[in-house]
């Protein structure tokens, strides 16, 4: 590697760090993203200028860049923001597969990377290669499953079977044995067996994880894609890959941690899966527990009347809002209420949506200014003097049982204190319990009014009533 290439890689690494650093504030974030693009361009050009590149190779590379880049740019321009989580999952799978391909290339042409000759690769490089290969393959198949679940092409329900964890553990041990054998022999067959087994493992690891745990899964796969890049970096002795892989790996790990904390569950508990598999007992409106007071259902007109006279309104959006595509009409409602003199803000739970920060993007898309959108710790004290909490498409994250009921599945989960508001509106299709399968006692409180119906339709009717 020439000094110049190394220097270019160093510059690219610094630019990548600055790209992440820029995300500390929306104002600096756009410049940060630009830094990232420049860093990537420098890395690619510097690699293309390495001595020994022949013309045919360069043509092949440019063809790959143009085809792949065209597809990427097309998809990025077209994707709906509600479909962001599945897009990210799909992208993770590509990084994983690219890692597999690079590992294979290094295996078939070790001379190009200075790690030995075909059939006689240094054992240390074989260890690193098998790590990069296995992590890449697991990232690929795991992300494919996450994509299928998020995109609704596969049921979000956890897939569980007897002896699942035993099987996974056994396959893990088998993978270790294969890696040891591969390092000892360097055989072609073992290389591909490691790849196949890792594909199977990635698949099996993600199928038991349910739909609402996807924020953790997506973050975790994000982390894996980084570790895969770092593993390949070790294999081919490339500093840029190692540094970037470490950055991405750390980022994904932190996001997974934040998501787990947002649900008060350990990562192990999420990975073992099966959470909420018995959820979804649908009851008729008002027909919850027999010993409770019946719920109070209201009409959009009632809600509009109460909100018109409110001073402070907090909107609590959840995944249901995204499903109903109601974010735009929610903003219209907020605009009308602001005209009436009310103060409107938004409360976002860390695990709202299907990926970290998903709700923030959807609200931003609907032109909600980001300074009106607040995180849980920031907004929770505000509920006590709010007149109205408008809960749309969220359920478990507002359930006070998380604070009081030790036997509840969601006990200990940080929740939004909507029950402290003078009036709580719940926009819901019916009385079904949330993802965790826990009934929300808030529905039965005297200060709660249920607005039954589709989130978008109900909000639209409120908007119409407000305009009258």
């Amino acid at each position: 590697m020439t000094t110049l290439t190394t220097l270019a890689y160093l510059v690219a690494s610094v630019l990548f760090i600055l790209a992440l650093r820029g995300l500390s504030h929306p104002e600096t974030s756009r410049r940060g993203n630009l830094f990232g693009m420049i860093g990537m361009a420098i890395a690619i050009v510097a690699t293309l200028l390495r001595p020994g590149m022949d013309l045919g190779g360069v043509a092949l590379i440019i063809a790959g860049l143009v085809i792949g880049g065209g597809i990427g740019a097309y998809v990025a321009g077209r994707i709906q923001m509600t479909a962001l989580p599945q897009l990210v999952a799909a992208f993770h799978s590509l990084v994983g597969m690219a890692a597999v391909f690079v590992a294979a290339a290094a295996f078939y042409s070790p001379e190009s990377f200075g790690i030995g000759v075909r059939g006689d690769i240094k054992p240390a490089s074989l260890v690193e290669m098998s790590l990069g290969l296995a992590i890449g393959a697991i990232t690929f198949s795991g992300s494919v499953i996450a994509f299928l679940k998020l995109d609704g092409r596969m049921s979000g329900a956890p897939i569980l079977f007897k002896g699942q964890h035993m099987l996974n553990a056994a396959l893990g041990v088998l993978l270790l044995v294969l890696v040891i054998a591969f390092v000892a022999t360097g055989s072609d067959l073992l290389f591909w067996m490691i790849a196949l087994l890792s594909f199977a493992l990635g698949f099996l690891l993600i199928i038991p994880i349910g739909g609402a745990d996807m924020p953790v899964v997506v973050s975790m796969l994000n982390s894996y894609s980084g570790w895969a890049a770092a593993g390949i970096g070790f294999t081919i002795g490339n500093l840029l890959l190692i540094v970037t892989g470490a950055l991405v790996g750390a980022s994904g790990a932190i996001l997974s941690y934040i998501m787990c904390k947002g649900m008060n569950r350990s990562i192990i508990n999420v990975l073992l899966g099966g959470f909420g598999s018995d959820a979804g007992g649908v009851a008729a409106p008002g027909g919850g527990a027999a010993d409770r007071a019946p719920v109070k259902a209201g009409s959009p007109e009632d809600a509009a009347y109460i909100m018109k006279n409110a001073q402070k309104i907090i909107v609590v959006p959840g995944y249901g809002m995204a499903v109903a595509q109601a974010q735009q009409v929610v903003r219209e409602m907020a605009d009308l209420l602001k005209k009436e003199g009310a103060e409107v803000s938004y409360a976002i739970h860390p695990v709202a949506g299907r990926m970290p920060g998903h709700m923030n993007v959807l609200l931003a898309e609907a032109n909600v200014p980001y300074d009106e959108v607040h995180e849980l710790e920031e907004i929770n004290p505000e509920f006590a003097d709010a007149d109205v909490a408008y809960v749309i498409g969220a359920n478990d994250v507002t359930n006070p049982a998380a604070k009081t009921d030790k036997s509840s599945a969601i006990y200990g989960m940080p929740i939004l204190d909507v029950e402290r508001a003078k009036t709580v509106f719940f926009v819901k299709r019916g009385m079904a319990s949330g993802y965790a399968g826990v009934e929300n006692e808030l529905f039965f409180r005297p200060n709660t009014m249920m607005l039954f119906g589709d989130a978008k339709k109900v909000t639209q009717e409120i908007v119409q009533a407000l305009q009258r």
Binding site: A12, F16, I17, L20, P26, S29, R30, N33, G36, M40, T47, L48, R50, V58, L60, I61, G64, G68, G70, G72, A73, V75, A76, I79, M81, V88, V95, A98, F101, V102, A104, A105, A106, Y108, S109, S112, F113, R118, G226, A230, I232, F234, I236, N238, L239, L240, L241, T244, A246, L247, V248, S251, I254, L255, I258, P350, M355, G357, N360, V361
Partner: protein, 132 residues
């Protein structure tokens, strides 16, 4: 002072220096093979661990509101794996390796362009109240 004495002392010093240099050379010769084997990996590992710390600190400073764009950017930059794929496609002797390199370049490029552009789209939506 007698010039002869100085000359003798200088000679003695020179001899001593030469002996030391020879010793150092001998030491370097014995250490070199060990260092050559251990150093690259240890160096890479050091860099890797330091980068993990940098990542840890930088990512904690990211505002939660921008966690989705963070995933978009990390997704895009993790495709720097394209560097490995380019080397394979451009340098490899074996046709198979070149083909794998080409596939790697293609997949990673989807991610590079897709990741950065979708992040740019997301970020362009984040507006403050003042700007309307």
């Amino acid at each position: 002072m007698n010039p002869n004495v100085i000359a003798v002392e200088a000679q003695a010093l020179a001899d001593r220096a030469q002996a030391l240099a020879l010793q150092a050379r001998a030491m370097a010769d014995t250490v070199a093979p060990v260092a050559a084997a251990a150093e690259p990996f240890l160096l890479l590992l050091t860099i890797f661990l330091l980068a993990c710390f940098v990542g840890y600190h930088v990512v904690w400073s990211v505002t939660p509101a921008l966690h989705s764009p963070l995933m978009g950017v990390t997704n895009a930059i993790s495709s720097v794996i394209v560097v490995g794929a380019i080397l394979a496609a451009g340098l490899a002797e074996s046709g198979v390796a070149r083909f794998f390199g080409f596939l790697g370049v293609m997949l990673a490029s989807v991610n590079i362009f897709g990741g950065f552009l979708v992040t740019r789209r997301m970020l362009s939506m984040f507006q403050s109240k003042k700007k309307g």
